[in-house]
Each structure stands twice: as structure tokens, then as C-alpha cells.
């Protein structure tokens, strides 16, 4: 694959779109919009996976694409929407770092990701380099979202978006063995996490299961 080829361009485009959606996630102020943006990102990821399956002639990746679409494009967003509705959560995103600064930090992280990948010699194929830079950016933005947003839902979505970055990296590498298994396993982890959020009915933040009981146990300060 080289520049100018359709395979490459489309893969690159889809990867870029996933990254763009990460920025959209950071930009949104309302929970509902965040969930929708995440669904969009999941769908784009599924598309990227499907395209890679086609390009690499790896039928297993179709399964990954299907799972990604099913879980992240449809089911998890629906579950989160329901949760927001039923628990009557705040509809706005509370930020620890404002939207503007988050965006700037995000751009900085993308720059960092590129700088970190840059030293890779030309021996590694360009696609892989670009691909890894994109995926790394998505991962970092996901983490950024986790630590700069106060709402539980936003934080979970940050984690899920981080995981999207992983899958993006995995599908981009030609011949990656076990890619389906790994992506599935990662998905299981994420689903378990979402299930945890929903079961524990975590309303405000991931920190808080029941704020009242914490002081005695965790702090050990008397």
C-alpha cells in the first residue's frame, strides 16, 4: 500500500474520521450529543474494520466490524441513553478542564502522538506509521476525556473511545494474528465496565459509588 492508492486513502480517511469524532466527543457539552458522537465513532470504526477486512483479505475482520457496530454503534449508546433518561442525570457535561482548553490539550496530544511515532524509520511502511499515529491520538484523547470530564457517562465514553483507538490500531496492522480474539476480549472488558456503571447506578462520577462511606475506609485519616 502506498500513498495515492485507494486502499490507503480510504483507510486513512476512515482513521482520520475516527480521530475527528474523538474531537467531537471532547467538544460536546450535552450528554446526549456525546453519546451520539460516540455511536458515530463506533460506526466509523466498524466501517474502517470492514474496509481493512476487504483490503487485507482477512474475513475475520468482518466479524470485528460487526461486533464493533453492534456493540458500540447501537447497543451501548442505547443503553447509555436509557440510563440518562431513567436515572434523570444531568444533561450537561461537567468539565474539570474547560472545552476550549480540552481542545487545545487534544491538539497538543495529537502533536505528541505524531512526534512519538515520527522516529520510526522509513523501513516501517507509511501506512502503519500514520495508522499508529492516528490510533495513538485516539487513545490519548480518550484518556484525556476520562480525566477531564466529571460525569460518569462521559468518563465511560472516554474509556470506550480509548478502546476504539486500540481496535483502530489492531485492524490497521496487516497480518495481525488473533486480532479478532483480542478485539473481542477488549470489548468484553468494556462491556463489563459499562455493565458495572449501570449495575452500580453510578450517577455522578466514576469515583463515587456512595460518597458517604468512603471517608472511613479509604482515607484512613482520622
Amino acid at each position: 500500500m502506498r500513498f495515492g492508492q485507494l486502499t490507503y486513502d480510504l483507510a486513512h480517511l476512515l482513521g482520520g474520521a475516527v480521530l475527528l469524532m474523538s474531537f467531537v466527543l471532547l467538544y460536546q457539552r450535552r450528554i446526549g450529543a456525546v453519546i451520539n458522537a460516540f455511536a458515530m465513532q463506533g460506526t466509523l470504526l466498524a466501517l474502517a474494520a470492514a474496509w481493512q477486512a476487504h483490503a487485507q483479505h482477512a474475513p475475520g475482520l468482518y466479524l470485528t466490524a460487526l461486533l464493533a457496530f453492534g456493540a458500540k454503534g447501537v447497543l451501548i449508546p442505547i443503553a447509555l441513553h436509557r440510563m440518562v433518561r431513567e436515572l434523570n442525570l444531568h444533561r450537561t457535561v461537567e468539565t474539570a478542564l474547560g472545552i476550549g482548553p480540552s481542545m487545545i490539550a487534544g491538539v497538543g496530544l495529537v502533536g505528541l502522538a505524531i512526534l512519538a511515532v515520527l522516529p520510526a524509520t522509513e523501513g516501517v511502511r507509511a501506512l502503519a506509521r500514520e495508522d499508529i499515529a492516528l490510533a495513538l491520538s485516539v487513545v490519548l484523547l480518550g484518556m484525556l476525556m476520562m480525566i477531564t470530564r466529571r460525569n460518569a457517562i462521559s468518563q465511560v465514553i472516554g474509556l470506550l473511545s480509548l478502546e476504539n483507538g486500540l481496535i483502530l490500531a489492531a485492524i490497521g496492522v496487516t497480518g495481525m494474528p488473533l486480532v479478532v480474539e483480542l478485539s473481542t476480549a477488549a470489548l468484553v472488558l468494556m462491556v463489563a465496565m459499562v455493565a458495572g456503571v449501570i449495575t452500580f447506578q453510578i450517577r455522578e462520577r466514576l469515583d463515587t459509588v456512595d460518597t458517604g462511606s468512603l471517608e472511613e475506609h479509604r482515607g484512613e485519616r482520622r
Binding site: T121, G123, L178, V188, L189, A192, V209, R218
Partner: protein, 478 residues
């Protein structure tokens, strides 16, 4: 099916059986029996020639850990059988606990035996999921809190590790075939020719990812609470086994990066993490009021020491690190048995509520006292040997870092002594129930002393075969 997989699936089959067993008493026995079976299988595996086989491999590096891990698994199961009634489980939770225990043991063993880094990652993920559920099993707010923190932080950690794994493959991809891909053996073979910059990136993420699981500062925040809130046996296996598996994963990554002369030297990173862990833990130990959290912090310190040893590199320091991991697994689980049992007797795990154990419960009190001495690096236990080796190498190669490390260790030692005397000496605090009848009382103390005995044996009279294995392994890590 090769024996490696037999062990893993033996445990998982045991998990299925245990999940279906309604009678808690029977389940404890079956649990111990399954663990005994695993231990025997691990011994049998030692007898077979070491080889790579599919996704798994047996080599000098992982077999000592498999042996120790199944041994600790067995003694923990025995301790668990003796004291489980103290945890006050209903039969559902008992089922969940036992099933999770065996799922964890299977996954843990698989993580150690895995040759394929992807399989290793999956195994560690399963182990994490199993332990999260075990930490939460008491369903108190604190337990939920601890489990949740554990879950989130380690979830992110292993996500990072997966990213590292993928990048690692990317680095080696032009040189690998689909069949051998992600195999550690194959990666080691081509490591020297891989793209160094990509390798660096991979190492960074593997170190941070598995380092989170190993509890290295600043990725450690989950560890103290997770160790303190689950049932007692879980603290023992978390500290004794899971940390080792994570550290072994770091070592596997380090050996690959280390094999490439153009990539970054992995040593300084490990040194930095190790030193940070020791220093922070040494200070944090002074602020603890909860006995189990105290020893959880001590685990952070010891992982830091091991990381420091591996960071130093070279056969001598690596041997020290391996010995330290093994010694820590044995001794720290003994400490958790002791302190957990004491907490059951006193009805509280606050240090202030436990006191004078040697006067009222000599076997337990002295066992705990000796175990804490052992964890503090007193002879003739294996941790003494490993710390001796580590410091005698470090003093010559990195004197200032060695002195800084020593400063941290002295601070930690003083804290350990203070707590040892607070728990074991002085005027006994009143018991609040928690007595065990007949054989259970004995069976709850035997694991402590057994571990200490083994630790002494490894410290000053290690079987030649094992010593040779570890020495070879120390050279493999590089």
C-alpha cells in the same frame, strides 16, 4: 491436549464444578483439591522438557513462577477452606467466590505459561475480571469502591498494554509470518532487526500497561484498596500471584526491547519506576492505620525493588529480581494469611485493634512476626538473599541510586518493625469471636509456617536444579 493447557482447563473445569456446588463446606474441600491437582500438574510439567508449544511455552523463566504460583494457590485454598466460614458468605457468594478463584488460578497460570503475547494479554484480562468480582464479593460500600477503582485503573492499564502489544507486532511485522506472530519466541528471534522506534513505543505502553497491574508508582493507586477489601485469601493471591504475572509480562517486553541494540535501554525506566515505588511506599507505610492496607503498600515497595533489580539488568541483578519476586510471593501471602486471620479474630483490621498476638495466639502471632521479619529482608529467608544480591550489585554500579533505595528501604523497615511490634507484641487486645474449631485452627496456621519454611529453604539451601534454572533465566532477560 498438552499438559500446559491441561493445567489451565483443569482449573477452569474446577470453576464450573464449583459454581454448581451448593454446599459451601464441600466446595472448600473441592477447591483445595483442584488447587492440589494444579500443583501436582505443575510439578509434572517441571519434569517434561522445556519447549515452546503453540501459544504456550515452558522455559526457565516461567516455570519457577508456575511452580510457586500453583503452590501458593494450593496453600491459599487450604487457608481458605479453614477460614472461609469467617467471611460469612451465603451459598451464592460462596459459589461465585470459588468459581472466581479457580478462574483466576487458570488465567494466572495461562498468563505465566503464554508464549503468545496476545494470549498472555487475554489471560491477564480474565484474571483481572475474576479478581474484580472477588474483591467486590463482600458487597460493602468499601469493597465496591475498591473493586471499582481496581477495575477502572487496571482496565485502562491493560488497554494500554494491548496497544503496546499491537505496536510491538507492528514493529516486528515485516519480519514475521502470520503463524508465528506475537509469539515471544519469534519476537525475540527477530528483535534485533525490528524497527527500534516502534519498539520503543511498544515498550512504553507495555511497561505502563503491565506496570499498572504490577502496582508500580505512579500507577499503583488501585492496589492498596483492592488488597484490603476482598476476602483474606484474595489478598494473598493478588499480592503473591497477580503481581508476579504482571511483572513477568514486563520482563518479557523488556527482554524483547533489550535485545535490540538501537532501541532505548529499558533499564532506566524500570529503575525510575522502581525507585519511585520504593520511596513512595516507604513514606506511605507510615500513614497506615489499616493492617492489610499497610501490607498492600509493602507489596508496592517490593515490586519497586524487583523493578529496580530488573532495571539494573545483568545476570546478577536479574537473579536478584527473580528471587525477590518468588520470595515476595511466598512471604507476602504468608503475611496476608497471618494478618487476615488476626483481623478475623479481632473483628477489625485496624492496626490499633490488633495487639499482643504472640501472647494469646502464639502460633499465629509468631508466624506473623517471623513473616514480617522475612518481608523486611531479615535472614535466612529468600528475600534476604535477593536483597543482598541486589544491593551488592547496585552499590557498585549505581551507588547514588543504591543509597537512595537503601534510604527508602530503611524507612520502610522501620515502619515494618513498628507495625510488627504493634500487631504481635504488647498487651493483647480482646478477641471478638472468630475462633475456629479443631483442624481449622491448625490449617489456618500451617500455610504461614509452610511458606516460611519454603522461603528459608530457597534462601539458604535452594535445590541446585532450581538455582540453575533461575540463573539461566536471569541471563535470558538480559
Amino acid at each position: 491436549m498438552p499438559l500446559q493447557w491441561v493445567i489451565v482447563f483443569f482449573a477452569w473445569a474446577g470453576a464450573v464444578v464449583l459454581a454448581a456446588m451448593p454446599n459451601q463446606r464441600h466446595a472448600t474441600v473441592v477447591n483445595a483439591a483442584v488447587s492440589a491437582g494444579m500443583f501436582l500438574l505443575a510439578v509434572a510439567l517441571m519434569a517434561l522438557p522445556f519447549e515452546q508449544h503453540g501459544w504456550t511455552r515452558t522455559d526457565v523463566l516461567n516455570m519457577p513462577f508456575v511452580l510457586v504460583s500453583t503452590f501458593v494457590g494450593l496453600t491459599t485454598a487450604v487457608f481458605s477452606a479453614a477460614t472461609l466460614e469467617q467471611e460469612g458468605f451465603d451459598h451464592w457468594r460462596s459459589r461465585a467466590y470459588h468459581a472466581a478463584y479457580q478462574i483466576f488460578m487458570g488465567a494466572q497460570t495461562l498468563a505465566l505459561l503464554a508464549d503468545n503475547l496476545g494470549v498472555m494479554w487475554v489471560a491477564i484480562e480474565i484474571a483481572t475480571l475474576a479478581t474484580v468480582s472477588m474483591v467486590a464479593v463482600h458487597r460493602t460500600p468499601a469493597a465496591f469502591e475498591a473493586a471499582w477503582k481496581f477495575f477502572i485503573l487496571c482496565g485502562v492499564g491493560i488497554a494500554l498494554a494491548l496497544f503496546g502489544t499491537i505496536v510491538l507486532y507492528l514493529a516486528a511485522q515485516p519480519l514475521l509470518t502470520e503463524e508465528t506472530g506475537l509469539s515471544w519466541t519469534a519476537l525475540m528471534a527477530v528483535a534485533a532487526r525490528c524497527d527500534p522506534a516502534t519498539l520503543n513505543l511498544a515498550f512504553a505502553f507495555l511497561l505502563l500497561g503491565y506496570g499498572t497491574k504490577a502496582g508500580l508508582v505512579p500507577l499503583h493507586s488501585w492496589l492498596p484498596d483492592a488488597h484490603a477489601e476482598g476476602p483474606v485469601p484474595i489478598s494473598a493471591v493478588l499480592s503473591g500471584l497477580l503481581l508476579n504475572a504482571a511483572m513477568l509480562a514486563v520482563l518479557r517486553a523488556k527482554s524483547i526491547v533489550g535485545a535490540n541494540p538501537e532501541a532505548v535501554t529499558p533499564g532506566p525506566f524500570l529503575l525510575a519506576f522502581g525507585l519511585a515505588s520504593v520511596l513512595l511506599a516507604a513514606l506511605a507505610l507510615w500513614r497506615r492505620r489499616d493492617a492489610r492496607r499497610f501490607f498492600a503498600w509493602s507489596s508496592i515497595e517490593h515490586m519497586g525493588i524487583a523493578a529496580f533489580a530488573f532495571g539494573l539488568g545483568g545476570p546478577a541483578a536479574n537473579l536478584a529480581g527473580l528471587l525477590h519476586l518468588i520470595g515476595h510471593a511466598l512471604v507476602k501471602s504468608a503475611v496476608f494469611f497471618g494478618v487476615g486471620r488476626a483481623a478475623q479474630l479481632k473483628g477489625s483490621q485496624k492496626i490499633a485493634d490488633i495487639g499482643g498476638l504472640v501472647a494469646t495466639h502464639p502460633a499465629l502471632g509468631w508466624g506473623l512476626a517471623v513473616a514480617i521479619l522475612a518481608i523486611a529482608g531479615m535472614p535466612p529467608f529468600v528475600i534476604f538473599a535477593s536483597e543482598f544480591r541486589l544491593f551488592s550489585v547496585a552499590a557498585a554500579e549505581l551507588p547514588w541510586l543504591a543509597i537512595t533505595l537503601a534510604l527508602g528501604m530503611v524507612t520502610a523497615l522501620a515502619a515494618l518493625i513498628t507495625v510488627l511490634q504493634a500487631l504481635c507484641f504488647g498487651v493483647p487486645t480482646p478477641d471478638s469471636g472468630g475462633a475456629l474449631n479443631g483442624w481449622r485452627e491448625v490449617a489456618s496456621a500451617v500455610p504461614v509456617w509452610l511458606h516460611l519454611l519454603v522461603a528459608v529453604g530457597l534462601g539458604i539451601a535452594m535445590p541446585l536444579g532450581l538455582a540453575t534454572m533461575l540463573a539461566t533465566a536471569a541471563q535470558v532477560i538480559g
